[in-house]
């Protein structure tokens, strides 16, 4: 009994220690951001008084409002369009039998592992030739293409897990494939679809390289791109608190969603671990 108790205490100690390690870096920039800009900050120093002035300055100087809106437009569009297309494709893979389904599915699986860093060169010239670099399109269209493999994979797994008898019964009633999807399957699919939307939204929200390459004008910067440029611009003048405040504000939307929906986040990440 005492051995079990000792083991339990050890477990708590180990888990606790690693949780501190996991949270500390985030906490450290939050503490940094709560300082006044004039404070001389080193190491573990705590702010004298809670001040949000640095956040306000970062918001204004970093033009964060506009960047967060840009990120919302891009991530929202990508996740919703991906959800629609991936649900349709996942339905075909999960609930229908057709020639070449294995081959097509393997073709899609490649998309889960290949580095999208290897696609950005042609993408840049493709959009440049179309006169579409420096636009939302240059961020939205490629990221739909990149999210399709995970989304389809995810929805296929869902449609495979639904009882085949349900689809069969609906079809015997004479329902078309679309009516079966719409009336019979979709009502149960919402949890799976929501998880997918949340994950694709997060990945798109956090994306950096594509924005770095495609976006030139200040007004179209996404939040991570704006933040990286803001951090670079403030590196020389030692204004660490300002950069930290901007970083916290950029991370905040996803963190709020994560805290609320962490269960489905983690479940979805395991299924799609290879996409990111």
């Amino acid at each position: 009994m005492t051995a079990a108790r000792r083991e339990q205490l050890l477990s708590y100690a180990v888990l606790g220690a690693f949780c501190v390690v996991a949270i500390y870096p985030i906490l450290s920039i939050l503490l940094l951001a709560l300082h006044e800009r004039s404070d001389l900050v080193t190491g573990f120093s705590l702010p004298d008084s809670l001040s949000l002035a640095t956040f306000r300055d970062a918001w204004e100087e970093g033009d964060l409002g506009r960047q967060l809106v840009n990120s919302f437009i891009v991530a929202g569009t990508v996740s919703v369009v991906t959800a629609v297309l991936a649900t349709l494709a996942g339905y075909a893979f999960g609930a229908m039998r057709f020639r070449g389904s294995d081959t097509l599915f393997y073709l899609l699986l490649i998309g889960l592992i290949f580095p999208y860093e290897a696609t950005v060169i042609p993408l840049y010239y493709l959009f440049k030739d179309a006169g579409l670099t420096d636009s939302y399109w240059a961020l939205i269209l490629p990221q739909i293409g990149l999210s399709i493999p995970f989304g389809t994979f995810w929805m296929r797994a869902f449609f495979r897990s639904t009882p085949g008898a349900l689809v069969e019964a609906s079809r015997l009633d004479g329902a078309s494939s679309f009516v079966t999807l719409w009336r019979v399957l979709l009502p149960q699919a919402w949890p799976a679809i929501t998880t997918m939307i949340v994950l694709v939204f997060m990945w798109t929200w956090n994306e950096f390289l594509l924005a770095l390459i495609m976006i030139q004008s200040d007004e179209l910067r996404t939040a991570p791109l704006g933040l990286a440029l803001f951090a670079g611009a403030n590196r020389g003048n030692q204004d660490v608190t300002l950069t930290a405040a901007a970083a916290v504000l950029v991370a905040l939307p996803v963190m709020i969603v994560y805290v609320v929906l962490q269960r489905s986040f983690i479940r979805g990440m395991f299924a799609g671990a290879v996409k990111e």
Partner: protein
């Protein structure tokens, strides 16, 4: 998951049933032709078309086109010149490009080997003691996965800063002699960035392994105890084989992430000091969009992609080979 679950792809569909007289005779007003379930349906292609259109045009197509571009000497503006495999020769002979590949392999140690090893060890320690508050621990350990890498980079640049928390901690325990600007140091910058990768990946591995151990039948552990196996034997005889699938997923994912590292390095060190933290994806960006050597950049991208495929394939073959299946 791609690796292990790719396995279920070939699973046979339920046997097709030819006729359903009851349904066919349901009534003359029913004009829809009744289809046997499991019968090949051409309408499937219609459902796939939009998704594949986006995937082929904006993801898979560009990947293939990158391979084509890698055979040219092209500055991105004028007409390119066909040079065959010359760009690949350059990759083999250029010391900076070669060292960027070496850096990638060093990062694999930090992104994949360390978190997986550590995760395995801790998961087996924790697995069978009753811990309350699992939801909280899991959420906290998983947090680094959800934060934008740009934000992660900014946080760690601060931690490694000359006046940052790490150096202050070292001074506090009397090791001030070790304090330095970690990311400005030729020898320490890459390991320092690697440890950020360990930080990002560790929680994911631990949470994944804990979930996996829950699925191992407890009777196996009891049998091992009866056989007189100690903790170490038990780990190698029961836990490790039982975590095969999780191990394959974790190793594949973390290794791919190590090879793909871009945001973290671009934001924190931009490949410096010198070229001490340059990795292939940073080279792809610099060569294509700064130096105007598009063909060479494409060749580096192709090598990176090939490397990722080889690693993913190898891990699947070695780790996820379950003799019982």
């Amino acid at each position: 998951v791609a690796a292990p679950s790719a396995r279920g792809v070939g699973a046979p569909a339920p046997p097709a049933r030819r006729e359903r007289p009851a349904a066919a005779a349901a009534g003359p007003e029913r004009r829809v032709r009744v289809r046997a379930p499991g019968e090949p349906r051409r309408v499937a292609y219609l459902y796939l078309a939009p998704a594949f259109l986006f995937y082929l045009v904006f993801a898979f197509g560009p990947l293939v086109y990158t391979a084509w571009l890698s055979l040219f000497d092209w500055d991105g503006l004028t007409v390119g010149e066909w040079v065959g495999v010359e760009n690949y020769d350059k990759i083999l002979s250029d010391p900076d490009i070669r060292s960027s590949l070496v850096h990638s392999f060093e990062l694999i140690v930090f992104y994949a080997v360390l978190p997986v090893g550590l995760g395995l060890m801790l998961a087996s320690v924790i697995a069978h003691s009753r811990v309350r508050g699992v939801t909280f621990f899991r959420a906290a350990l998983f947090l680094p996965q959800t934060i934008a890498t740009v934000v992660v980079a900014i946080a760690w640049v601060w931690i490694y800063a000359p006046e940052g928390p790490l150096n202050e901690a070292l001074r506090a325990v009397g090791l001030g002699g070790l304090a330095r600007g970690w990311l400005g140091d030729f020898d320490f910058a890459l390991p320092a960035l690697g440890l950020v990768g360990t930080w990002v990946m560790f929680g994911l591995c631990l949470v994944m392994f804990l979930a996996g151990i829950q699925k191992i039948p407890f009777s196996l552990y009891e049998a091992a105890r009866v056989d007189g196996a100690g903790r170490v034997r038990e780990f190698f005889a029961v836990t490790l084989p039982g975590l095969r699938a999780e191990l394959a997923v974790a190793l594949t994912f973390t290794t791919i992430m190590a090879l793909r590292t871009f945001d973290l390095i671009y934001v924190s060190t931009a490949g410096g000091p010198g070229t001490s933290t340059t990795v292939p994806s940073v080279l792809v960006y610099q060569e294509a969009f700064v130096n105007g050597r598009v063909g060479l950049a494409a060749a580096v991208a192709v090598v990176l992609t090939a490397l990722i495929f080889v690693v993913a394939f190898a891990i699947t073959r070695v780790v996820d080979r379950d003799p019982s299946r």
